[in-house]
């Protein structure tokens, strides 16, 4: 056989469905943007500043670290921008610039790159950063004290803080529809349930996130809140209130579904979501924090490797 022409060979399969990490990041940015824009509308130019700084500093931290560590430059995949945006959406609109930059450093460098970069982070990077900021700068992360100079045409107290301090009497005036439509205070991008749900459902339909996690998350939170509410309706708020305030919808659709730190099998996804949902309500109702979703999420991330041991039997597997 005389070899006149040598061809390139490669291994099967020769087809690919065309999915890319960059596309997934773009979809998440797209899905999160209505809620983020609503936050800018609600809190004004300072919210825009926080979000812009969060995204840009996250991207720069990623670039700087990959340069220093001599890793392949990965900012182009958009995951750093996603982490930056999601982190920024949880912050109060008045957070100073140095806290934002510290937060993105914690998210990108500490919670992600140190563990090996994309796909290797054991915890949700944005949640790690918010958790550390909540512990480090309690006052600045507190919604009520952060937004004290704002004037709104609706009750301006952080709903979860109000119910924790004064019981359900304090939130009687709040209508669920108002909460869902974003007539409440909170983290920049977490206040409009309608926008968050729309974005989340879009991601589920596009196959970027898996429905099992948000559904079980919300069910777990609702069920736990329902039990508390039934036991003491004066002290503990209703399930619907818990779903529409704080970070609940944001966490269910955008945080808990982060790929690397969440399970991939059906039953583990359901347990993971439900456990986080339940812990969220536990922390809110009987814990120290008015909104402890990021801590609940970190606990969920912690048990994820164990959960993924529950898996379907492989073909031909003999026990």
């Amino acid at each position: 056989m005389a070899d006149k022409q040598k061809l390139i060979v490669s291994f099967a399969p020769f087809w690919h469905n065309g999915s890319r990490v960059t596309d997934r990041s773009m979809q998440i940015l797209l899905a999160a943007s209505p809620a983020a824009f609503f936050g800018i509308y609600r809190f004004g130019i300072s919210a825009l500043g926080v979000l812009a700084l969060a995204v840009s500093s996250a991207v720069l931290w990623e670039l700087a670290f990959t340069r220093v560590a001599k890793r392949p430059v990965s900012v182009g995949d958009g995951t750093a921008a996603v982490i930056g945006l999601l982190f920024g959406m949880m912050l109060p609109a008045t957070l100073p610039w140095w806290a934002v930059i510290t937060g993105t450093f914690l998210a990108i460098v500490v919670a992600r790159q140190i563990y090996g970069g994309i796909g290797a982070n054991p915890f949700n990077p944005a949640a790690v950063a918010v958790a550390i900021l909540m512990l480090a700068w309690k006052q600045r992360m507190d919604i009520d004290s952060a937004l004290v100079n704002y004037v709104f045409d609706f009750p301006a107290a952080f709903p979860l803080g109000a119910v924790k301090a004064f019981g359900t009497g304090a939130i009687k005036e709040l209508s669920l529809i108002d909460l869902f439509m974003g007539r409440q205070v909170g983290g920049i991008g977490t206040i409009c349930g309608a926008a968050l749900s729309a974005g989340g459902i879009y991601l589920v339909l596009r196959g970027v996130i898996r429905w099992e996690i948000p559904v079980s998350f919300l069910a777990g939170a609702a069920a736990t809140a329902g039990v508390f509410h039934a036991v003491d309706p004066l002290r503990f708020a209703s399930p619907a209130f818990h779903l529409l305030t704080g970070f609940t919808l944001f966490g269910a659709f955008f945080l808990a579904t982060e790929d690397a730190s969440s399970p991939v099998n059906f039953i583990p996804m359901l347990i993971y979501g439900a456990v986080i949902g339940a812990i969220v309500v536990f922390i809110r109702n009987i814990g120290v924090f008015a909104e402890g979703l990021v801590f609940a999420l970190l606990v969920g991330n912690l048990i994820q490797p164990l959960l993924d041991k529950i898996r379907p039997k492989a073909l031909g597997k003999v026990e």
Binding site: K6, I8, S10, F11, F14, A260, K313, A314, G316, V318
Partner: protein, 431 residues
Amino acid sequence: MTTKNAFWGFGLPRLEHTPLPVGSERLEAIALPQTVTLLHRRPEEKKAIPLLKTGDAVKTGQKLSLYGNADYVTSPATGKVVSLSPVTGNFGRNLTAVTVATDPQENFDGEFDAARSLLSLDAAGKFLAAVPGQPGLERLTDPERPIKTIVVCGVDEDILVVTRQHVLASRLADIQHGIQILKQLTGIEDVVILTRREAIQGHGSIGGRVMGVDPRYPAALPLLVMANVFRQEVPAGRTCEDKGFCFISAEAVASIGSAFSTGRIPVVKTLTVIPKDGRIRLAQAPIGTPIGAILKHFDVTIAEGDRIVFGGPMRGTAVFSPDHPVQPDTDAILVLDAKAAARTSDYPCINCGECVRVCPACMQINLLVRYLEAGKYEDAEESYDLNSCVECGLCSFVCVSKIPILQHIMLAKHELVRMRSTETLTETIDG
């Protein structure tokens, strides 16, 4: 069939085994080329000297056994041996390429014709191992794995490939005769004919039970047919033969039928040819025909970076030269434009779980791939079901990070087999 995810749309690609295109009854006949090349297995010993030498005359259908062992190839043409050269096949297999300059004056070898009346499985195996479709008759006589059921595969294992479907649709008489011969030779009464589910009618009278296979890829792979059609899951790492089932392609059965009815060993292979435009054509070419000759017939030009694949897009093997010959088991030739061929990357797994959800063998691929990338093949086998893999390639197809997962899996399986054979060898020497 869409194979790409859309950025804006909501539909996801659904891969199906390609049905036989309407109006594909006619086969494009590829003329006998000036030279044909046959790939003969070469023994491990370095000094094995071929029994044949250049200049020897061969006849059509003549059995050429180069090293005096059970291996042989069948000459598809009459002519003279012009070269014998060592080549390396996939996974480092040692082969000898026998090139025969063909003579248009065909002269059929009569050895099989004289022997066929004896009608023993052993005798058939001595002549029919290299007929189109490659029947693998030795599997029927393995005393350690008695076969209860012969499965005549009228479905193709890969997408775009329609060769077996074509044979099942067009050569019923040969298949019927082949089944009859197989029954007589082996004494096995249970014969199943596999066909696409919607084509289940019309094959009832050819000598076996007809069973339908789901059109959704990869339902036609033997291990999945075993699990989903026969409801007999093959234990991981074992074969269908271990369960008493022997899968033979419809073309191989037709070849056996035709060999016994005409007394001539069939040497012309049916092929699905898929040029860059993706339009499926059917052709028949003598075994040993260089691919280049077939592509020339269909006016396909090969540019830098294009792939020529033996088989389909999901499980085929890329070949490195247009001189590579058609072999008895080559069901399809797929030509892919450089731009259309999937690229892999060294991006890490992002744990999105797409592979886990698409895997027909329910494997934990997101974890498995971490072990494979680290070369921990034994752990992969023990804890993450490496041997359950049916090698369909869907994991690589959907991988967001474009990790060559199937390649990792195949390499791991190959390395484990190699490691074990070295271990047994050392043990034998030590003991």
